[in-house]
Symmetry: C2
DNA sequence: AGAACAGTTCGAATATCATGGAACTGATTG
DNA sequence: CAATCAGTTCCATGATATTCGAACTGTTCT
């Protein structure tokens, strides 16, 4: 009987546009989002990105608390997904525009993924 | 023969996606952008927004330097426009998505404009 | 139970940003 | 030329973000 502690995520109605915009205006977070989107799901540890755990964890938190990512536990890993449905419902077109606009940014940061 | 000094704006090719995202993730700047978009053109002084000149000027600078606004002089006023063509070309759909997503934010800040 | 592992939380240093008063610039008007 | 006006620049202050090592939590495996 273990109490599973998961990080806080806002429900759809409480997702703030400004928080989402802020979350998506950081290069590292942007690359996380693109990566998760590409692969569908992703654990925190499975990133090529060169950064200490605590830094990555911080950015995952920002993404979660803003409503961009959703996290669930599977074994000892946490699995992340982009809340595409919620975001598309609340801010139609935003995520797609970001995906397109962000690709050059991210590929210039991490040329050959 | 007067030398007209205008604030710096990046040319289209040098507009950074992250800079644009950051510029658009502040409530005051967002309301400026929406307002300028609504009215087509707008001077800095013609804002209902309650804020000192220097603060407004700072936000206009951020918007200009990120490539969101373009400014030209007309008499003693500076006239601002949103660089919709450039932004739509570089980041298709972004501006429209922001306009839609931002409206609730802005109208909650300034209920009856 | 104990070791190993994924990821979080804490805490502190550093950097970046927003705010706003005061002085300044460049243009218009008297 | 002097006064005024729009807006910027300068500067200081407080707030918010980013970074990352170290300690901690919850989970699995032996």
């Amino acid at each position: 009987m273990s109490k599973i502690v998961l990080p806080t995520e806002p429900e759809c109605a409480n997702i703030s546009f400004l928080a989402v915009m802020h979350a998506l205006s950081d290069p590292l977070r942007l690359s996380i989002v693109l990566s998760v989107l590409c692969e569908g799901e992703k654990t925190c540890g499975s990133f090529v990105i060169q950064a200490p755990k605590s830094t990555l964890s911080h950015h995952f938190r920002v993404l979660r608390e803003s409503g961009v990512l959703s996290t669930r536990r599977q074994g000892k890993e946490l699995i992340n997904t982009v809340r595409k449905n919620d975001l598309d419902f609340l801010f139609p077109g935003l995520l797609d525009a970001v995906i397109n606009g962000a690709r050059p940014v991210v590929t210039s940061l991490y040329p050959h993924p």
